[in-house]
Structure formats: C-alpha cells, structure tokens
Amino acid sequence: MAYTLLGKDFTPPDVRAKVTGSAKYTEDFRAEGMAFCKLLLSPAPHARVTNVDVSAVLEMEGVLGVLQASELRAPPPPVEPALTDEPLFVGQPILAVAAENETIASDALDAITYDLEPLPFTVDPLEALYPGGPSARQDGNAAVVNYGNTVVETRHWTAQDFAAAGDGQLPTGEPNMEWSYGDVDQALADAALVLDESFVTAGLAHHSMEPRTTMAYWENGKCHLHGSVQSQSFSMPILAGMLGMEQEDIVFVSEYCGGGFGSKAVPFPSMAIPVNLSRKIGRPVMMRLTRHEEYYLGLARTGMQGRIRLGFNADGRVTAADLFLIQENGPHAGFPNLTGAAAGVSAMYQPESMRFRGVGVFTNTPPRMAQRGPGYNEMSAAIEPLIDKAARELDLDRLAIRMINAPGEGATVGPQRTPLTSAFLPEALTMAAEQFNWEERKALSGQRNGSKVTGVGVGLAYHPAGNNGFDGLVRLTPEGKLHIHTGVGNLGTYSHSATSRVAAEVLKCDWADCIIERGDSRRHLPHNQGQFGSNTSFTMSRTNYVAAMDAVAKLKEIAAMDLGGSPGDYDIGGHRVFARDDESKFLTYPDAAARAIELGGKFSGEEAPEDINPTTQMAVAGLAGTGLIGVARDNIELNGQPAAHVAGCAQVELDVETGLVEVVDYAAAVDCGTVVHPMSLATQTKGGAVMGIGMARYERHIYDRQNGLPGNIGFHQAKPPSYLDVPAEMQTGAVDMPDPENPVGIKGMGEPVMGAGLAAVLNAISDAMGGHVFNRTPVTTDMIVNALAGQEQSHGPLDVNTA
C-alpha cells in the first residue's frame, strides 16, 4: 500500500536539540535552592550494616540531611530497595546524604561510621545450587523468575546431579520452571544427528551513556520528578506505586533519555532517593549518578549457563530441542531472560518437539534487568554456532540448514505453539545473503593471507514485536494543528515520532502541521506501552491508528450534523472533511475543531470512552474543551504473537598469531513488517550489530570470587566496542512485508538486530578457526590465542564472571 508519510525519512522534532546540545537531560535541569545528594555504597557483596553513626555528618557545614533505609517504603522481597541495611551486592546504596554540593556530600560520606557484619555471598550459580552451597540471600538461593513476581526459594541439587553431568557438561538437577510439547526423547532417539552441548553467555552491563540521574522537588503537594527513563506514560503508575503516591500528584519529565537498552525500561529504585530526600529537607534534590555508580547499580544482563540437546534429521530439520538454563539473576527480582530464551529457540528453529527446563539463581552481583533481546539474543549466541556445527556434520550449507528451519507461514512460538502473526525469515535470509553475496563470499572461508584467516558467518535472531490494548489520543485544534499526544518515551529510536506519523497518515495531515506532545506528564499523555520489548512500533501504531480513526469519525459526524446527510457520506483530505458527492460541502479541520469545542461532550473530550485507561482518562480531562479529541483504546483484534526476525552475515579476518579479529563486513535484513522510518531502521540495524559485536567479543562481568569485588566498573574496563572495532560500512535491508495484524502492517525490530550481528560474528570466528570451538560469549582474544596455541582455556567450561 502506498503511504504519504510511512516509509519515508523525516527529521524527528528532537534531533536538532540533540545535535546542537540544547536537549535537556535530567542533569541539565536546575530548580531554585537545589541541593545535591551522594550515596554511601556497600563495599561488601553481602553484609549487615549496623551502628550507623551520622551524627558528625549532620554537624558538617553544608550538609542538609541524611536518608536511611528505615525511612523508605520497603518493597516486598526480592524486589530491589532504594536503600538497604543488608546490601546484597557491592555498590548497593546504604544511605544518602544531601548537601549544598557534591564535594561536601562526598566528604560527609567519608565521615560516616558504621559496622559491616559479613554474610555469605556467591558469584557462582552452580556453587549456590551445590548441596550446602552459599546463598546470595538469607531467604533463599534460587528464584522462580517472573517479571514483577519473582519468587524466592531454597533449591539445592544433589551431588549425584552434579556427578551425573559428565566433564564440562552442565548438571541438570530439578528445575523450577519447565514446559514442553511433542515427544522430545523419542525425537532425539530417532534423530540422524544429536548435539549435546553446554554453554555460557556472560552477564554484562548496559552502560547507558547517560547515567541514571534523578532530580526531584515538591510544589503544592505534587512531586516534580526529572528522570532518565525509556518509557514515559507507562512509568506513571509504576512511579505512583513505588513512591506510594497518587498518579495525579506526580509530574514526570523525561523528554530525553541518554540510552537505556532495557535498564531504564521502567522507573528504577534509586529514583525514590531524591524524591524522599527532597521531601525531608524541603529543597529540590539532584542525584547525579557517576559512571562507577552506573556500573554498580545500573543493572545488567543476566548470565546464562545452559545445556541443549538438539536433534536433526538428515536434511537438517530440527526435530527436537531440549534446553536447560541456569539464569544468574543477581540478588533481586531480575528479569525472566530464560523464558524468553526458550521461546526464542522455539520460534527461531520451529523444532518439531521441544522441552525447556530452567532455574534462576541469586548471586551477589548487580541487579538484573532486560537488556536488548533478553534471553533471545543469548540464544542467538549459544545456539546459532551449534546450527553451524550441525551443518558441517550433516554436510549441509549453512544457509540451507537455516532456511529449512526458518519460521515462515504457519510458524508458532512457545509451549502453546501460539501462531506468529507473520514470519518472513526465509525472505530476510535470502535478502541478507544477496546483500552479502553469500554464495561468493563463502568461498573465502578459511582463506589465508599472511597470518590472517578469513571467516564468514550467518546468524539469526528473533524477538516478539508487539502488543495491544493501549490507548491513543490526538487533538485537532482551531489553529489547524494536529496534536499527537504520545506516551512513548525517547530512548533514542525516534519511535515517538515514527508511530505518531500513523495518526497523521490516517487524518491525511501535512506533517508540518503536526505537533508531537510528549516527554512531560503535564502534556496530557495517553496510556501507552513502555519502550521495551521491540513493541513500540506495532503497539503504538495501532493506538495512533484508532485515535485518528476516532477523530475521523467525529469529523464526519460533525460535518453530517452541520452540512446534512450522514457521516458515511463524508470523506477527508486536504485538512477538510467533505461530502463525497459534492466537495463544495466541507468543513476545514480548524472549523471542525471549533465546532467540536462548541458541541462539547465526546467531541471535545468532556466525555471520554469508558474503556480507556485511567492515565488516558486524566489526559483527556486535561485537554477537554481545547479541540476535537480523537481518543480510543486499541480494541483491534490481535490474533497471534507479532514477531520480528533478523538475518545477518559477517566476514571477519582473524589473525592466528595475535588472536585479533577484525569484523570487515556485515549485512543484515530485517523482517519488521511495513517499514515506517527507513533511516531509523538502518541506524538501529547497524547499532544493534555493534552491540552484538560487543557481546560477541568483549563485554562480560568479571568478579573476584574471594572478595566479591567487581572487576569492570568503568567504560574502559567493561569494553563496549569502539568505532575501530566495527565495520566502517554495514549494509541493511528490510523485507518490507506488512504484518496482517497491524492496520498499517508495522512490527517492531529493535532487539533481534543485536542478536543477528552477535551470532553472525561468532559464527564467522568459528569459520575462520575451521569449525566450532567456543561454547561461550564473549570470545575474547585470550581465548582465541589459547585455542590456536592448543592450550587449555584459563576458565573452566562452565565458569562465569571470570576473565
């Protein structure tokens, strides 16, 4: 279908501010009388804090107050508290000091005395599961991980479980979550090839460029909160719950967010600190988190120890997948990467039978949160190299074995075998291979040039890509503007604007006459899905569609009322609603908006639909009488699971003398439905690949096991890839096949673009080394040197948090 706006590049309204530096991030705001606060962080991985003496601090000039854990609402365990007297990881905040400036606050921290009573700790999930093993928490060592409802339990496997695993293989004791379909054991017994491999994917930091700074002040009983959160209106009820306040008493400003990658998907515990300190000392409080602090408490991707048995028939079709995962969950509620991982395997390879078993284990490491493709991308890292291994053993082309398993028409996901709304991975694979010239490039495999060997690889990734049931809100004003109120946050993808263009498309409005209202709860923003899970494009294109359709219906009703006939006789175009059979009968949008205000009721937002969310009800009430209001809940049917798929191809040059790997080329193709914003799509596809290269090659948590100390608490230690570590040019493309469950065909794509790059690079490295070598990410230079020298690796095959 031809669109006027969708599929065209445009300049998002916030770009200029970002480029010129005038964009105001949280740290840039000031409030009259603003104080600063600093955090006393735990130096121990697990301890009880006693005998805290702040008396000397309160006497210091410039110190304004101290906030301790006992003064805050304690969330139900294992949810992370903002402050604690029993820190569960190095760097967990114990208390906060407010002062005139940060130097005084830091000096005050040095003057606080307290005792630390050490408690058992662990940075190793397998040790925690071993009989008598250390427990990261006093109330249990293991977690049934569910988002928002993680359950703490005590779970130790038997020594026999460990002994039965065999050398280097993951023990598989009793899981605390599982599902299956089909007869996996029979399928494995019948398989032409069975791979049984254990693997590790390392936990790693999000390292958002903007640390999670928060500023808060109180005015007339309302709390004004500036924060760096990915999601705007989705944050409101969460903030209200976290702070124990009514939503209408919170003003939340988050116009810009300097990166989150999932770690700022929703409001985070430390936001409560300046809010409560401000209330306590009666002054605005700015809490700037430093880079170190961001590494301590800025959340992280879970680590995985896994084992998979994959059964293949002679054609390469995956007949069975038997997946067992141990998720290193940090010490708090965490995020269910392992269930995403299992769903991902089922979607990526469409196995004829599958069993998933898993267990979450607490460790005294940073709290975990979703990171781009949580669980799904770990499976791209762990399983994609095994697909290559199977291809070699079955003498199949690496592209062909993927094609035979790739989700297409009739594809399903998960234990219920939920249909995917659309799946065009075969088309994406074909496109990526053509861009990359796979047929010719694969001949380069293993080619030696001096000390360098060429490797080529292909990698796949999957992620759910949409949701439904949220609200849309638009407003036509007598000034002739279409205000698109969006609760979409600003995590850097411009999806706030891209999805808003759907409303403009439906209303046939010139983009120049559209104003995007966002980033500040005072701008009357509807209840929208949060900006995570690759779902903004699908979900909020639907909400903007239904809101705009509601506005269209109201325009036609008003026209019929004023000009005669029935609404069905009217159409829209050129900022007018006109009679289809007599275009001289029309109302301009400004006139119709003025009429809506006169008419009141549903037309101007005096009345609102009953099925919209309370957040949207408030927004509509705030806008009532200011124009023609289009507002609706997305009640469009949703049959199946929207799904995004990506295929990527990479070429590397691996130096066999130094272990260095240069990624020289990368091409990716995305199945994301109708392309809504080509430039952003290309940017995200490339940026995702860069993040994938980081996970493939460099990034991982390192912990000193004896003391529980984190080894990488800075950019240069955590090693996100630099410009010089990624290809100068990358090719991107999209299959551009509309999704039938979205009125304009759009699906998300933000997450699997990372997984495809990650897997393609890992597979290209294996290819350069002559076959499958590592069941581990990242594949670091020292690992490559050791492997090429025929030396054992420094780490054991299942070790985590090590170099």
Binding site: K38, P43, T103, T658, G659, R705, Q706, H716, S722
Partner: protein, 329 residues
Amino acid sequence: MSKDMMRAFELYQPDSVENAVELLGRFGADGWAMAGGNDTLDWFKDRVKYAGSVVDLSGVEGLSGIRETADGVEIGAMTTLTEIEASPLIQERYSVLADSARRVASPQIRNTGTIGGNVAQDTRCWYYRYGVDCYRAGGNSCYADTPQGQNREHCLWGADRCIAVTPSDTAPALVVLDARMAIVNADGEREVPAEEFFIGPEIDIERMTVLEPGDLLTAIRIPNDWAGAQFYFEKVADRNTWDFPLVNIASAMFVEGGAVSRIRMAAGAVECVPRRLSVVEEIVTGSAPDEETAALAGQAAVRGATPFNYNHFKIPLLENLVKRAIRDS
C-alpha cells in the same frame, strides 16, 4: 569505594622548571606532579590517592616540544602523545616511538596525555585501582595473586608480592631507543637510561619508576644510535582503541649483508617494567631475520615465563609478537 568526586586540594601552577622543582621539593610526599591529568584525576576522583598540593605542569615553559640536538632528539616531558605521533622528525628517525604513541588510549586522551605522563603512569592492576589494601597500596596482600584472582592482565615475570605490569605503550619503544630520562630536583639534573627508569616491586613496591618525591621528569632524550633502524611496534589489546596492552612489543634492528647486525627489543605488559629481551637480541644478532630465526627468537623470549591462572595466553602471544618483530620489521 569509588565516588567520582575529588577532595579539595591546593593547586599550584608554576611557569618555570625552577619553580616547579621548588614546589615539588617543598611539598615532598604531599606534593603531586600533574601532567595531562589522565592518571592523576582518576586517582583523585576515586579518592584512592590524595595529595594536598598538586603542581600542574601545563604552564611550565620549556617542558613541551620536540627539538633536534647535536646527538639526537629531545622531547619535552609535557609533549602530547598526539604531537609525538604526528612529528615528522620522530616519524622519520624513530618511527617506533610514533607508532607506539599512536596506539595509546584514544585520540582524545592522546591530545591531553603527555609522554612524561605516559611513562610515569601507575599500573592498571584493577584491584589496585579499585582501592584495595594491597602490597602496592601499603597493605600486606596481593588480591590478584590468589587461587581465584582475576589476573588476566598480570605479569609473566618479576612477581614479587605484586604481580602488576607496566601499562605504557611508549615505554618499550623508549627502552629500545635507549632513551635517556632527564630528571631535575633541588640537587640539579640527572640522566637515567630508560631501561633503568622503570623499577619493579623488588626495588620499590609502591613506585613504578625511579621518580621520587621532589623529582621532575623534564625531558626524554633519544640518541642517534638507533635512528633510521628497521623498527617494529605492535600492541595487542582487546579493543583497537582506548585499551591497555595485553602485550606490546617494540624493536629496533639494523641488518647488514642479510644478517642482523644490531638489535634491541622490549615487551610491555609482561612484567612490572618494560622487559628488555636481551636473550632474543643475542640469539638474533648475526643471523638472517628469517622465519627460522624469528621462531627461535620467539621461543627464547618466553623461556622462564611464569603465568598465573588467567594469563598464560600471554606466553604464545609474546612468542608470536617477537616472531613478527623479527620477521616483519
């Protein structure tokens, strides 16, 4: 615990070497000479180290610039790494130094980082930088040298309570060039060969160089002896920028009549000091710099290397880098 917030200190900004030396002499152990500030401010912000009196050298006249002298080249200690990598004189005569400077950190850091600061910087052992009470910090243990210590970046030689390594990329190049370090204090100036400038824990566990309180490194003088040699520098790090070496190698070699007539070679990040590979020099001298010689040199270079739990990869890596230095320079 790191706090990213400096304590207050007195800042002195002398404009002459004489004034700088007077200030450093006056403050002694409570004084701190600051060049580009890249190392200094990290320590201060983390509140791991502190000095009440900081002497900022950026305004000291005569400490910056590259000058040709009668017997070589003199580089002011405050010359930035960017200036060194871009200097036609250095590129022409001592390209190994330009190449090593080019691989330091990132362009932004090289713009502010100085050659003096690069050679005088402290070790990057993550435990020590974290602020633990290790031997080097005046304590009585080494956190890296434990059965589970994360010592991937640590030494292969010279462990003596501390197992940290030199992080400098320019240091091995300066050792290879037989550079002289000009040090001024209240007693006047002395020259120390680069090879002796760097010291290991067996000499002083709390210092990386011979510089003591009151000393000021003013210049690095490179003699003509190795000008125009066949040079080689290579650094292997995880990332291609903003990373410290896993191992680096520098060499200078003259070949006459198909055989190596003179050679100096040094490796970084394998010992607390740049490791002069004298045994390689001995083996290689008189031989053709071919694959066979290179292989022998590589084997010789790693004899006696004693790895820890996470760094034995450095042995084949160093062996290969030595091979490349002979074969490819």
